[in-house]
Amino acid sequence: MRRTWVKGLLAGALTAAIMAAVPAAAAKDELVIGINQFPANWHPSIEAMATKAYIEGMTRRPFTVYDADWKLVCMLCTELPSVEKGTAVYETRADGSRGVAVTFTIHPDARWGDGKPVTTRDVLFTWEVGRHPQSGFSNFDLYGRDIVSIDVKDERTFTMHRDKPVCDYAAINDFRLLPEHLERPVFDADPATYRNRSVFETDPTNPGLVAGPYRMTEVASGSHVVLEPNPHWWGQKPAFRRIVVRAVENSAALEANLLAGQVDMVAGEVGLPLNQVLALEKRQGQRFRFLYKQGLIYEHIDLNLDNPVLKDLRVRKALLHAIDREAISRQLFEGRQPVAHNQTNPLDRVHAPGYPTYPFDPAAAGRLLDEAGWTDKRGGIRHNAAGERLQVEIMTTAGDRTRELLQQVMQAQWKQAGIDARIVNEPARVLFGQTLKERRFKAMALFAWISSPENIPRTTLHSSMIPTAANGWAGQNMTGFRDAEMDAVIDKLEYVCEPEPNRLLRTRLQQIYAEQLPALPLFFRSDAYVLPPWLDNLVPTGHQGFSSFWVETWRVK
């Protein structure tokens, strides 16, 4: 009896001790950020991953990046090269081909986190590794083809000779600098195994890997990363003594962590889905600050133009007229996710309004379908003179609740117009790994493209980019869109840089897209941020130059 009593007392004491050790509320010199995936690796140029890029935004600085106003700015360089200033010069090479030479100067105070200066040796080393066939870089096109050569003037200034006389010569956002003093011995030892032995993987908290306001001081794989100020950071002093980035991959659990106070904020770029944040705002609107930023993730339906039904432009227009995107945006996204009428976002400097749009108009949809020969309505579904049913298949990523919901709403609206849309979904891996890549989808595929501001949509709209077995399924023109004028406009856009001719080309590109409708524009996705009321100055960007690139400006109110 006595032993039982003692055991009970011990168990009670242990329970009390465990329960009493409730974590103290986070001090305001510490910020805990919740993200939805833990990065698998840390090398900046091997295996692109959004959460890795988000954390890198706090620890590294690219030469150039698009800012919150979608303008290109210098981060590691002193100023953007330009033809006017003479730091960008169009040139003709010895073989007669044309290119452009752009001169950058590294910021004079730029240092790696171990105090070593950032120099042109790092630039040359990065280029050497990037173009090495065995290094495993996934953006070989930049290092191996786009950059023809690099001339070094001194420790800080270099001239990069680019392969083509492009207009966006100053944008080298993807040139991710490697610290030569740490990585050279590893790379020289064996380039073929460099990717596995890089200091980024073997010693990710090494301060010499960072050149940004923060450095990683703890990496708990699969759980969290701790960042502390980089003493050698040359810019504005960051406000937080410590930032913890915590990965919680289930969105409901991430929300619960937020409510439990275990995370202070959820990053909009790599956090919660929009509709979950909208629901949270209704319940917890006073407790947090909610920010929404529409961006460059273009949600749309790719149409397989080899499909005999969809070949007919009238049917494509009818499909768009038959769906009420404004109502869907209001009902599903509370208007936070604006309707897209083109593949170019209206916030983009190169957007040129004036192209045709297709508002919800069931009567217009009906007229177009009648004109296309789908006149005979039997059982609510239209048939043509040959007795064929107006039936199309729509695919998307299985398990994506927002897209599946959207699909069902559109299916119902199309049915009202006499179109039988059949839903056939596949896991993302199969849809993107095979079905879309090899153009195996029968009619329609709902997914999103991610691009950067001022993007030229060569890979998605130029006829040379239609994936085929012959070209090894290269390119992203999954619709099979072929338009000679579009090809010519895209070809010219890359080299016609004078503002007015360039604007006219952009205008024409957007017009052709709207007139021909190779895809049905739906929405521009919005990033939804859940922030603590005391956090100030976090400015969402809406593109892949994440808000974390300006972490040093974040302040406590």
Binding site: S198, S221, G222
Partner: protein, 321 residues
């Protein structure tokens, strides 16, 4: 006994070889390859770039050749590198295995510790109110989806009461063993609640059979205390089928619990296996699945050994038939 163990070891090696080939073949059948995934975000990649990367990552060779190459390394202790994590496979799997062992081991022990008294209590008074209550709890535990249970526990203990942390294994910087217990409490409870129902039902059912046996009646007639009859005689025999079930669960201890690990941000094997399969990380997926197979085989071996300990009639000595 030695002969039995050697025989089982040889069988295990054959099973593992067959499994390794099957897993390789199944992974190879999935659409796309690692390079497709890597280049999905790079619209400017050419077929030549893809071919170069396939050579770099060794996926340009036929699956059988890749398998034999992997096998050659594996028998020498070289399990290759993880494509996703850019680290040697044992370095990727090792810490996750430990995390999963802690989580599922604790949940397993807790579930067994609860299931034995509950199952025995229910069997001693079948169809009573106590039995009905135990059955109700069992079916509730079996029926509740783990993600929902996890969410309920988080909302109650982390959000509302703020007694326990909602996720992770430890606070930033490590923390004490008490912190470790606090972090493990909810995921362990989720897994234990999910499995205690099943174990209790097995114990109850086996105990019901044993308690009706003649030797139990004899023991009672001899004046043995009820406690001794139940716990020393009936339970010992009832444990044989229960041990079989638990042995099968042993393999699962090392293959992780995807849903619970994801809900509680517990970096374990379940999530690793899922990510490695979805990310075409052949080496990690193969070794992790083989490890789970090996542990299942080991569990069965331990169960066989346990039978002999529980039932003196079972012997591993070769006898004429």
């Amino acid at each position: 006994m030695t002969r039995f163990l050697v025989s089982r070891l040889l069988q295990a090696i054959v099973v593992l070889l067959v499994m390794s080939f099957l897993v390789t073949a199944l992974i190879g059948l999935m659409p796309g390859d690692p390079v497709d995934l890597m280049l999905a975000g790079n619209p400017h990649a050419t077929p030549a770039d893809a071919a170069r990367l396939r050579a770099v990552y060794g996926v340009d060779r036929p699956p059988v050749e890749r398998y034999l190459h992997w096998l050659g390394g594996a028998v020498q202790g070289d399990f290759g590198y993880s494509r996703l994590f850019s680290r040697p496979v044992p370095e990727v799997i090792g810490p996750r295995l430990v995390n999963t062992g802690i989580l599922l081991g604790a949940a397993f022990l807790l579930a067994v510790a609860l299931a034995l008294p509950l199952g025995v209590a229910a069997a001693r008074r079948p169809w009573s109110l106590a039995d009905d209550a135990v059955n109700l709890l069992c079916f509730a535990g079996i029926s509740v989806p783990p993600f929902w249970l996890a969410l309920l526990l988080i909302l109650l203990f982390a959000v509302t009461l703020q007694w326990l942390p909602a996720s992770g294994m430890a606070p930033v910087g490590g923390g004490s063993w008490v912190d470790g217990l606090r972090h493990a409490a909810l995921p362990v409870a989720t897994l234990a609640i999910a499995s205690v129902g099943g174990y209790t039902r097995y114990v109850r059912s086996a105990m019901l059979v044993e308690l009706r046996q003649d030797y139990i009646r004899t023991a009672r007639a001899k004046g043995m205390t009820e406690r001794r009859v139940v716990w020393r005689h009936a339970l010992r025999n009832a444990l044989i089928p229960v041990v079989t079930i638990m042995a099968l669960e042993f393999g699962a201890l090392f293959s992780g619990a995807l849903v619970t690990e994801t809900m509680f941000a517990w970096p374990g094997m379940g999530k690793l296996i899922y990510d490695s399969i979805m990310g075409n990380d052949y080496n990690v997926a193969l070794v992790a699945l083989l490890l789970a197979t090996a542990m299942t085989l080991l569990g069965n071996l331990l169960a066989d050994v346990a039978y002999a300990a529980l039932d003196p009639r079972i012997s591993f000595r070769a006898e004429p038939r």
